[in-house]
């Protein structure tokens, strides 16, 4: 019986979500430290009061029971209540989603544009100093820690030159520095992939044919070469975008922005299991959807891949 492509992907997605939820549960349970104690001991709660709270949070129940209860709740769409925030996890996560999505989108746009530029330049001027320069910039993007580059751009563009605000959300101007820093980090992998793809495609006969027909170089590049290179590049970009949607904690911290990154790091620090699980499951969901969309887009761009869909 032939199952539809979509049906197969949905089953895969369900499996991925279950795996993510389970891994989050196991990882948190293996981490030392008791959430109830962490929340209450500094407030002067007695040993009995802490034990009472632990029981209330369901932490005294056998692990298997906690796990089953958690999975059943998840199936019903109930992410539970955050032990630290005291509010439903769904609401807490959704609040952090818009700023995360905005930063992820902006950073991806910057990263793709910069990466394309560097990659194309490096490929067309292969083995010249231009290629070396562009590749070096790409490698710098990959290896520079965003903590450092973030502070450097703040120092330069905010403190010294006063062109852009250092921290906060607000408007487009607040987005420029963090998106650039994150985008620069992204551009590295995009650039190297674009370079490799463009070089490979340039060798193909259809390109030679197009040039022989007298088509101008830029048209050949943009219309034919990049179109072919776009498929694998979009796969990588989709992965990066999905990753960024899970939050970029360092960038968020340096630029004083909200985001899922900071949310989940704080939840881990306080052993707030419901929020950690909520963010992980949410991240897995997003990743799965983004990947599915990326695969469909790739197939649309490159007909040779369409046979995978049947």
């Amino acid at each position: 019986m032939a199952m539809s492509y979509l049906g197969r992907r949905l089953i895969q997605a369900a499996f991925v979500l279950w795996l993510a939820a389970t891994l989050a549960f196991v990882a948190m349970k293996l981490t030392p430290g008791d959430p109830a104690q962490a929340l209450l001991v500094a407030s002067g709660a007695t040993y009995e009061e802490i034990a009472e709270r632990r029981a209330r949070l369901g932490l005294d129940d056998p692990l298997l029971l906690q796990y089953m209860r958690y999975l059943l709740d998840l199936l019903r769409g109930n992410l539970g209540e955050s032990w630290l925030h005291g509010r439903p996890v769904g609401r807490v996560v959704l609040e952090q989603l818009p700023p995360t999505a905005i930063l992820a989108t902006a950073a991806t746009v910057v990263g793709v544009c910069l990466g394309l530029l560097l990659g194309v330049v490096a490929a067309l001027r292969r083995s010249t100093w231009l290629d070396k320069a562009a590749t070096t910039v790409a490698v710098l993007g990959l290896s520079t820690p965003t903590y450092w580059s973030g502070l450097v751009v703040i120092l330069l563009f905010s403190l010294r030159l006063g062109w852009l605000p250092a921290t906060g959300e607000g408007d487009l101007r607040h987005l420029v520095l963090p998106a650039s820093v994150l985008g620069f980090a992204l551009s590295g992998s995009v650039a190297r992939l674009v370079r490799a793809c463009v070089i490979e495609v340039m060798e193909e006969s259809f390109v030679l044919a197009a040039r022989a027909r007298g088509l101008p170089a830029w048209r050949v590049i943009f219309v034919h070469v990049l179109r072919s290179a776009l498929a694998p590049v979009s796969a990588v970009v989709a992965l990066q975008f999905g990753f960024l949607l899970g939050g970029a904690v360092v960038t968020e911290s340096v630029f004083a922005r909200r985001g899922l990154g900071k949310l989940v790091v704080e939840a881990i620090m306080w052993r707030d299991l419901p929020v950690v699980q909520g963010v992980v499951v949410f991240g897995a969901l997003v990743y799965t959807v983004v990947n599915l969309v990326a695969d469909l887009v790739q197939a649309w761009l490159d007909p040779r891949l369409r046979e995978n869909l049947t």
């Binding site: 981490t31 030392p32 430290g33 008791d34 959430p35 104690q37 962490a38 929340l39 209450l40 001991v41 500094a42 407030s43 002067g44 709660a45 007695t46 040993y47 009061e49 802490i50 009472e52 709270r53 209330r56 955050s82 630290l84 925030h85 005291g86 509010r87 439903p88 807490v92 609040e95 952090q96 700023p99 502070l151 703040i154 120092l155 905010s158 403190l159 006063g162 605000p165 250092a166 921290t167 906060g168 959300e169 911290s253 340096v254 630029f255 004083a256 909200r258 985001g259 900071k262 949310l263 704080e266 620090m269 306080w270 052993r271 707030d272």
Partner: protein, 523 residues
């Protein structure tokens, strides 16, 4: 024609630019340093939430930061029964909440019952009330609170934002979303809160019941916006670029630069509580030997740590309580001065010598190795690093690791540590009981002395301040005498402000500003 239109437009924009700057006269941006996971003062424990909310709520009593005395707030006067178990508060009759409802004895009862209800799962406020038993409404303006045993820190608890009086109508209306729509009686109204992004307060025009501890009757600012700057490196840049007018917790290394700049000022505020001190596990060998512990104390060059890590912005701590805390015993000052020779002599006497000449002392084939667990905040890693270097000169091998707070609690609970630094703030010296009572959650020195327990318990019940002070004096001297901890420094909150900010002053907790008194000069 075009020229005239242009001229008109230029004039218009010039005029509106002039109007634009006027509104910034009475508006201020305040930088917070931690994004609290929740800001309901009855529920959450973060001290950051108190910075804005202390001005949204009034408390029954206020505490004078200079004298430590309790002054009227929402209660005009109060009476404590002879046995210390019944508190009767006579409330001001003229107070209304920001939503227009009246503040009365029933509101007080509602608030205290809310805090203590198990459904609320309070993380702090509930425990501050100690042996709370119940509240009775005597009449509209009189309320009686009963405790199951005397509890000396009770009024101090009631003076804090965590026990601020919220509007029962608002709490019932908003349920578990109340923290996004808070309603108190204070000089500022809770206008807007976007979690993690900003919190906005607006002046309460109807405020007419200012506590005598305030210097003004009503708020001087129209609006205050709070923004979050969690990364320490971004705080002074934010101040310097005008992103904030006031910023808390400026890193010590940025202080000198700000002080030299005429456009900014640094306001250091010492915080009461226990000092940053390293707990020594007296139940684990080799620290069970008092001479080894004393050697570590003599071998600590505290002024060097204060200078290197804290750039001399903090005073050296000599005892477990910070010097500004009420009940501080000044006699601990000067105990255990830095004396490497004395430290070495003590270790020699305890049988620790470097027999194999590897730089580390040993005894019976075992090296003098100590496990130091550090938490990643409050400059503990930096202090730990310096201590390890200083004690290496003594021939002590310190193995450090950085752990998260919950893990540190687990390690300490199991007694797997030798050394662990910590500090905690609080305005009542009863905070010592959290650390040095044998059953205490933070008893990381693993002390178990019935006498010490008795002093701490008695001091928590005594109603006479002189009696309490005498008991806490004994506790502090005992802690240093038995070498239970290595005190390092008193916590100082380094606030930076632009020089246009005036009147900024902080309450008895040290953390929370009284925003009613803050003014900003026209730019």
């Amino acid at each position: 024609m075009v020229k005239r239109v242009l001229l008109f437009l230029i004039l218009l924009s010039a005029l509106s630019a002039g109007c634009g700057t006027r509104s910034s006269d009475v508006r201020l941006v305040y930088g917070l340093t931690l994004t609290p996971s929740g800001i309901d003062p009855h529920v959450h424990a973060s001290s950051e939430l108190g910075i804005p909310l202390t001005s949204v709520y009034d408390t029954l009593v206020f505490r004078d930061p200079e004298t430590g005395e309790f002054v009227p707030g929402l209660a005009e006067r109060w009476h404590v029964s002879q046995d210390g178990m019944v508190y009767t508060f006579h409330l001001r009759p003229d107070v209304t909440f920001h939503d227009g409802t009246s503040f009365d004895a029933e509101a007080v009862r509602f608030n205290l019952e809310r805090v203590t209800s198990p459904d609320l799962e309070s993380q702090k406020a509930r425990f501050m009330l100690g042996p709370y038993e119940g509240t009775e409404v005597v009449d509209d303006d009189t309320v009686r609170v009963r405790l199951s045993e005397p509890y000396a820190p009770f009024l101090d608890a009631l003076s804090q934002v965590y026990l601020g009086m919220a509007s029962p109508a608002a709490v019932q209306k908003w349920g578990d979303e109340y923290q996004l729509h808070q309603v108190g009686t204070g000089p500022f109204v809770f206008a807007e809160y976007v979690p993690g992004d900003r919190l906005v307060l607006r002046r309460n025009p109807d405020y007419a019941w200012a506590s005598p501890v305030y210097r003004h009757d009503t708020a001087q600012l129209e609006e205050i916006e709070f923004r979050f700057f969690t990364d320490p490196a971004t705080r002074s840049p934010a101040l310097e670029t005008g992103g904030a007018d006031v910023m808390g917790e400026i890193p010590p290394q940025d202080v000198a630069r700000l002080e030299e700049d005429p456009d900014f000022r640094v306001k250091p505020v010492p915080i009461p509580g226990v000092s940053l001190m390293v707990f020594m596990n007296t139940a684990r060998w080799p620290l069970d030997d008092a001479r080894v512990r004393q050697a570590l104390l003599y071998g600590t060059d505290r002024p060097a740590i204060i200078s290197t890590v804290f750039r001399d912005t903090s005073p050296v701590a000599y005892g477990p309580l910070a010097a500004v805390t009420s009940g501080y015993e000044p006699e601990v000052r000067g105990t255990y001065p830095y004396d490497l020779a004395q430290a070495a002599a003590l270790l020699d006497e305890a049988g620790w010598v470097d027999s194999d000449d590897d730089g580390v002392r040993d005894q019976g084939g075992q090296p003098l190795a100590l496990d130091l667990y550090l938490m990643g905040w409050g400059y503990m890693p930096e202090v730990g690093q310096l201590l390890a270097a200083q004690w290496a000169e003594l021939g002590v091998d310190v193995k450090s690791q950085v752990v998260s707070y919950p893990e540190a609690l687990e390690v300490a609970g199991e007694g797997r540590h030798h050394l662990m630094p910590f500090n905690l703030s609080g305005s009542d010296p009863d905070i010592l009981r959290k650390f040095f009572h044998s059953q205490a959650g933070f008893n990381w020195s693993k002390v178990d002395d019935g006498q010490l327990d008795a002093w701490l318990e008695e001091a928590a019940r005594a109603s006479d301040w002189a009696e309490r002070t005498a008991l806490y004096s004994r506790v502090q001297l005992y802690v240093m005498d038995r070498a239970l901890v290595v005190p390092i420094r008193d916590y100082v909150n380094l606030n930076g402000t632009s020089d246009q900010v005036r009147g900024l002053r902080f309450d008895a907790q040290g953390w929370f500003p009284w925003l009613i008194d803050v003014e900003i000069e026209a730019r």
